[in-house]
Structure formats: C-alpha cells, structure tokens
Subunit: 166 residues, 3 copies
Amino acid sequence: MTPEDLVEIEMIKRIKYAYFRCIDLKQWDEIAELFVPEATCAYSGGAYSFEGRDAIIEFFVKAMGRESFLSSHKAHHPEIDLTGPDTASGVWALEDWVIDTQWELDIRGASFYDDRYVKRDGKWLILHTGYRRVFEEMEPRGARPGLQLTASWWGTDGRSSLPAPD
Amino acid sequence: MTPEDLVEIEMIKRIKYAYFRCIDLKQWDEIAELFVPEATCAYSGGAYSFEGRDAIIEFFVKAMGRESFLSSHKAHHPEIDLTGPDTASGVWALEDWVIDTQWELDIRGASFYDDRYVKRDGKWLILHTGYRRVFEEMEPRGARPGLQLTASWWGTDGRSSLPAPD
Amino acid sequence: MTPEDLVEIEMIKRIKYAYFRCIDLKQWDEIAELFVPEATCAYSGGAYSFEGRDAIIEFFVKAMGRESFLSSHKAHHPEIDLTGPDTASGVWALEDWVIDTQWELDIRGASFYDDRYVKRDGKWLILHTGYRRVFEEMEPRGARPGLQLTASWWGTDGRSSLPAPD
C-alpha cells in the first residue's frame, strides 16, 4: 500500500459515506450519481436484489421514501482492497436502525457488506453492493410505555423538543 | 486530493475523535483546547446555540457534567473538504445514546453535523460545529422490567459486574 | 505526520477491523493471526484478562462461540500514534450489542480501548488490547412484548424474513 493508494481508498470511502447520507436524508437524485448504470445489488442475503441503477433507486424510494420512515445507517470497519487500477472491493460492517412512525415499528440490525467499485472518468462508482445480516430484529413501538419521538429532520426541522438543561 | 491533503484530513478527524472522547469521559480541560476562542455552535437544529469557546464549554459542563449522565456519542462517515490552506468543512453522521441514571431516562438519536475548521499555528481547531437531528427519542428506563446497568466508568471503574463465561 | 505514516496507520486500522469482523462472524482461525504469541488482554476494566494468544482465543470461543450469541461490535474514533518504527498505540471508542437467544438477553455498552501494536516481518499485530466500560446494561428480551428476531447469519443465511415493501 502506498500513499497514492490511500487517496484512492479515501475516495471510495467517500462514495459510501455519501451513499448513506443520501439514504438517511432521502437525497435520491444525488444517490443515483454514485452508481454505474449497470449496477447490481443483493441486500439482506439476496432478499432484495435488483439489476440496474434505475431499479435500485426505485427500490430505495419505495422502501424508504416516506418521511415517516426515519433511518440511521452507519457503516464501519472499511476493508477496501484495490484489485486493479480501476477496480476495488470493499467489506463494511453495518449497523442500522429504522423508526417507522406510520407502522409504529423499530427495525434494528447488523450486517456485513460486500461491495465492488469501479473508477470511470476519474470517479469511483458502485458496481455491486449487497449485505448479509448478522442479525435483525423488529419491535412494536406501542408496546414500550413512555417512549416518545422528540425530534425529526422533517417534523421538527431537526430540532429537539426536549427542554434545555437548566 | 493528494497524499499531503490526506494528512490534513486525518488531523481534522483526530480533532473530532478527541472531541467525542472528551465529551463521553468528561475531560473538560482537554476539550477546550480543540476550539478557537471565537468558536460557535448550533446543536440540535439550533436549539442549543452558543458563541465563544467559554460559553460552549460551560454548556457542556451544565448539560453533561454529572456522573449520572452516561453517554456514547459516535461520529461516522466523515466528508471533509479542504476549502483553503487553513480552512476546511466537515459533514459527519452522528449516533448518540445517553443513559441518565438520575432521571431514569434514555435519550437516543441520529444527526448530521456541519462543521468548519481552521488551522492555526500548525494545529486544526473547531471554528463552528452544529447538527440537525434525523430523529431523537426519549424513553423512561423504569418502564422496562429487568433492565439493569451492569458497569460504568465512574461507578464500577469500567468493570462489568456480569459473571464471566464458565 | 507524513503520508507514509498514514499508510502504517491504515494498516493498523485494518487489523482492528479484521479483529471485529472475526469476532462477530466467529472466524477464530483468522483472528489468531492478528495477535503476537505473547499478546495480553484486559477486557472490561480487567475483569477478563488473559496472557498469551492461545488463552485469548480460548476465551473468545468460550464466551462468544455459540451461534445463539449474536454480536455487533463497532469501533470508532481511532486515535493511533506511531511510537516508534515498529510500535504504535491506539485508543478506540467501542459500542457493542449482544443478542443472546439462548439466555434471552441483550447486553449493550460503550467502552474505550487502549491498545498496543507491534510490526513484525512487515505486518502489524496486536501486542495488548483492553477496554474500560463507559457503561454497560443487560435486559431480558422476554420482557419486551412483540420483539422478534427476523434474521441471523446462521439461522436464516443472513436473509430477512420481513416482507418486502409493496
């Protein structure tokens, strides 16, 4: 590994960071720019598999487009290998948490991603992405007395309704 | 981006990592060294906004100084851009969890930070920091039967009271 | 800090990322390759301390070997210092979550690691690792009505049993 390799690896990490920002903030136009047109995905051990960037984005919007779907996807532990001048692979450890205020559900889990990236016109892009769950759980929010949502990006303009400390 | 840029970016990341270590371990003297004197903050969509390093630190101590306030703030997905030889901006995805054993509450949430950094005398410092919540929730701990705190930095010297595996 | 230093630091981070992947996926043969033979550990404020790689691995298998022990360990905020040409120290902020489906328990916590690394034959290895808890909690899963495990690496081949969005 050379310092120049590290620059490539940093640019690949940035693609993944932008990807999850776009997911959690519902920035669907920007996320499309992170994939090659022929990209494929195989999420959740293949349960959600799609071919082509358009089909992937359509899935995102359908699954996560509602403002009542609040999510926090966090990717950790990047093991990125440059496999050629314009190709790379990446393993990431995910932890994700969804609060669905329409269905009054939490979904939480941990996963490992196996990604492949390509560099085109000087820009790294996602060729394939997918993950397998280490575990996933679902819990009804109504069964937890006193649980309250106190802020949301869309509902409170990102501001907490909790009182400030005295 | 050059290898030399990466060194600057790593030093900026280190400021943020030290910042959250100081928050969660209540190291208020060290955290003051991470800000410029005229620093500003706008936390929680602006709900907690302060001008000047001293006012920011005073807020930290008031809000989080108690040893019954146990916190884990974790910053992810650094999108750091060098905007000049001595200036930079940073977007970070936060997830945070507070266990307040005095008020018997959990507060958990996800946020996006928008930071600005400056380099002075060869050291990167925080000029502005602030975040908006993607979501935040509060839950009374007393409503969850069987929930037990089994270790804390100040209460058990960081040691678990759970039995070791046989 | 130089670009060449960053390469060393990235290689040290990779050791830690591989370590936690091995922990959460129970890859005990690979994890052994990350330690020097004389490695020591002091987990949970010293509650779980062992001398020698073999004793450490034996502890891992005993504590976390069961497929009913589902874990997500995530390390954040690496503050890695090169202390010599072949030695380094590292502070990491951990958050971890264990779902034990045999004992129907969750264990969750936050910690700070203090690690020491050495480079031998061109490869960075763990000389010492250990952490102190900021906090740790335990909760019976049976006390949370409606909580369901919907996927696991070993039980469902990493695939969710939740219905796909319409």
